[in-house]
């Protein structure tokens, strides 16, 4: 399962991505990410189980983050693996979307409490 969306406490939405978010993976997650972006205001995207992601996957993340922010919500990224972290920092996405290593910190960052 490439993407799983679950509702956590405090109206936080946890999006768990897994596997390869390559060309096919990015196409597969685009629609559900758009749904999350269009309807959720506190989103943590867990990347800990993502083995691969390049610019097409980044597009999905950024589009979702922009949609959430447009409604004054918050979206953060959680625990990318080294290769994914390098893609994120090389692209500069980490300057636009906060990245956290710890689950608790990510939740606190998007919590409205």
């Amino acid at each position: 399962m490439l993407i799983a969306v679950e509702e956590a406490a405090d109206d936080i939405t946890l999006v768990r991505l897994s596997g390869r978010i390559d060309v096919a993976g990015a196409i597969a997650i685009e629609m559900p990410m758009n749904v999350v972006g269009g309807s959720r205001n506190a989103v943590v995207v867990d990347l800990s189980e993502v083995d691969f992601m390049a610019s097409l996957g980044l597009r999905c993340l950024v589009q979702c983050a922009k949609a959430v922010q447009a409604r004054r919500g918050k979206l953060v990224l959680l625990a990318p693996q080294p290769i994914v972290a390098e893609v994120i920092t090389t692209s500069g996405i980490d300057e636009l979307v906060p990245v956290y290593k710890l689950h608790a910190d990510a939740l606190a960052a998007v919590s409205s409490r």
């Binding site: 691969f52 390049a54 500069g92």
Partner: protein, 130 residues
């Protein structure tokens, strides 16, 4: 392959099958995948006018502990090794999704070389296996 995203989905498996078994560390293979995706996606998304499906050819060879990846397309002339990288947006609201391919190619394959011959763009990327 045709210059369409759907045609690019099988590239990674194709590359993995072309490599000698266990020839490259997993992190090197991952870097090849990133560079390959960026080069091909760049050609697909930006190399041809809207509605035009062009041709992209990807070749791989392995010799002397080096993997040589070549991405060719018959689209408009474009040198990803020399083009200026887009200015980074100052905020998420200002950001336009995309535009990261050049930086990623340069990061994951700093030795990438470009040439244009006979209306063809050719990007050659080499990766050491050890």
């Amino acid at each position: 392959m045709a210059s369409e995203l759907s045609a690019a989905a099988d590239l990674y498996a194709w590359l993995d099958e072309a490599l000698p078994r266990d020839a490259a560390p997993a992190d090197v293979v991952a870097r090849m995948h990133v560079a390959l995706e960026e080069a091909v996606v760049n050609a697909v998304l930006h190399g041809f006018p809207a509605g035009v499906v062009g041709e992209i050819t990807v070749r791989v060879s392995v010799a002397d502990d080096t993997v040589r990846l070549t991405v060719e397309d018959n689209g408009s002339a474009f040198d990803p090794t020399a083009a200026a990288t887009p200015r980074r947006p100052r905020s998420l609201s200002e950001a336009v999704p995309g535009g990261w391919g050049l930086a990623l190619i340069r990061r994951f394959c700093p030795t990438a070389a470009y040439e244009r011959q006979s209306e063809t763009n050719r990007l050659t990327m080499c990766f050491g296996l050890k």
